[in-house]
């Protein structure tokens, strides 16, 4: 059975790009979310195997959503996918429990290897 | 391939609501933000605007008029020393336009009619009703000065392109995504 993934990003084109990459690699994208709040609500509902999470999003940013998801489920796998390449954000995400931190623009291989590595930790 | 340059050519003093007289052989003159241009037929005065308001004043008898491109309703609180731009505000800008038409062409407000355009809400995440405030202020100030508004096209969420023909007093107005309409 395919591993289930939620993709959270406020840009529809990035959600489409990630969905294409993940689907081609055999994963199932069960939900696309446009902000952190929607990502958290969807996580609680669907309990996916992994979430890809942007940081800069309206309503609730990705760092806040990461925190909420990991409070809810300390075993959640969340891979940050963001254009913000700053130590402060990287350290905060990793300290909170993000599995990986991918900087945009990303290569397909980088996304797949991060997802495989995160799911391989089970 | 077109050679691109910076927008700013470095010319012009900017600052004090400078007017530029439109001479008959200059076909189309553009009015930037917080500025006024006046002139006579056969010239055309044009502008493009979003939340700002264009106030076109015209004397059909003299085929003379002017366009004010204003940004804000009130100059209250603005520092009036050091490069104060009267054309930025409805209250000072409309008076400045009237003053220039009187001083340069001898027109008084009895001979003038107004057409007003703009006041759109282009950026949806802007909470302050700038466009609406501008609309309200312009209507009030024109009324206070006894100038009738012959036509108006206001509001919406897209930009306006205005061409004010001093030969006829007609204003062609195009809202983004639509054709020109005549007012």
């Amino acid at each position: 059975m395919s591993k289930k993934i939620i993709v959270a990003d406020d840009a529809p084109i990035i959600r489409l790009m990630l969905k294409d990459i993940l689907t081609d690699a055999g994963y199932e994208v069960v939900k696309e979310c446009e902000n952190g709040r929607h990502a958290f609500e969807s996580y609680k509902e669907l309990r996916p195997d992994l979430v890809t999470m942007d940081i800069v999003m309206p309503e609730m940013d990705g760092i806040q959503a990461l925190e909420q998801i990991l409070k809810f489920d300390q075993n959640a796998k969340v891979v940050m996918v963001t254009a913000v390449d700053q130590r402060e954000f990287l350290m905060k995400a990793i300290r909170l429990g993000a599995t990986d931190y991918i900087v945009k623009p990303f290569e397909n291989d980088r996304v797949i290897s991060a997802v495989k590595k995160a799911l391989g930790k089970e | 391939m077109t050679k691109h340059g910076s927008w700013f050519s470095g010319q012009g003093s900017g600052g004090r609501g400078q007017q530029e007289t439109v001479t008959p052989d200059r076909k189309e003159i553009a009015v930037g933000m917080a500025d006024i241009k006046i002139g006579k037929a056969p010239a055309m005065i044009s502008t493009i605007l979003g939340s700002c308001i264009a106030v076109c004043l015209y004397s059909s008898k003299d085929k003379t008029g002017g366009l004010l491109h204003l940004m804000m309703a009130s100059s209250k609180g603005a520092s009036k020393i050091n490069n104060f731009k009267k054309a930025k505000y409805a209250d000072t800008g409309i008076l400045e336009l009237l003053g220039q038409l009187k001083n340069f062409y001898g027109l008084n407000q009895r001979s003038l009619v107004a057409k007003i355009f703009g006041g759109a809400k282009v950026l949806k995440n802007v909470t302050a009703p700038i466009g609406e405030n501008n609309q309200q202020a312009v209507k009030e100030i024109l009324k206070e000065n006894g100038i009738a508004i012959f036509a108006s096209k206001l509001g919406g969420e897209k930009g306006y392109r205005i061409k004010f023909d001093l030969e006829t007093g007609k204003v062609k107005c195009q809202i983004f995504g639509h054709e020109f309409e005549e007012y």
């Binding site: 529809p12 | 930037g32 933000m33």
Partner: protein, 203 residues
């Protein structure tokens, strides 16, 4: 301000402009997997009436623009825009598919410009953080599709409400293979002038 301080600020601005624009062209090229050259790189003070008048005279295009506020120690406003028809090509480039598949301006074309703006603005804030230890973070973009003059006016309007002259860092990139021109603007706000003083300490 003393003349030598003005010279230092001027050099700081040019350094910021150079680093930001160089990084942006690299990031843009990587995002669309196609070379983007820098056609224009300029820093200037502009009178709000004159510069908006010149945009009206020079530009008569329909564009899609992404506005991003960079908040933090050095607040900036960022703008990235491209002709509406060229946004369709950028969409196909970003999605790595055949050029021409995106035939009309739709959600993905708008999103392509939104995300390019986000990535470029973030790249610039990353430089401030890494090279100058100045913390900056982009806010979510706002996108509009309108006349080029409107996009520029709405970009400068907040600053123009407060002052009559604005400082602008402008660049134009050319995506060589497709002859697409993209415009990018960076405008320092308020307390960024203090930051420029701080940056001179690195020079």
């Amino acid at each position: 301000m003393e003349n030598k301080d003005k010279i230092k600020i001027d050099r700081a601005l040019k350094l910021i402009a150079k680093l930001s624009i160089d990084k942006s062209s690299q990031v843009l090229s990587k995002m669309i997997k196609s070379g983007a050259s820098i056609e224009l790189e300029d820093v200037y003070m502009a009178d709000i009436s004159r510069v908006t008048e010149e945009v009206m005279l020079k530009a008569d295009n329909e564009v899609v623009g992404a506005f991003i506020d960079l908040v933090g120690d050095a607040p900036f406003k960022f703008l990235f825009y491209v002709n509406t028809k060229d946004s369709l090509v950028l969409t196909d480039l970003m999605l790595r598919r055949e050029i021409g598949l995106t035939k009309e301006f739709n959600l993905y074309a708008q999103s392509a410009v939104q995300e390019l703006g986000n990535i470029l603005a973030s790249a610039i804030s990353n430089i401030f953080s890494t090279d100058f230890q100045i913390s900056m973070k982009p806010k979510p973009p706002t996108v509009i599709n309108d006349f080029e003059s409107i996009v520029f006016q709405e970009y400068v309007i907040d600053a123009a409400c407060e002052r009559n002259e604005i400082l602008i860092i402008q660049s134009i990139f050319r995506i060589v293979k497709f002859d697409i021109h993209c415009s990018m603007f960076i405008m320092p706000l308020g307390k960024s002038e203090q930051i420029l003083q701080y940056v001179t300490g690195f020079m």
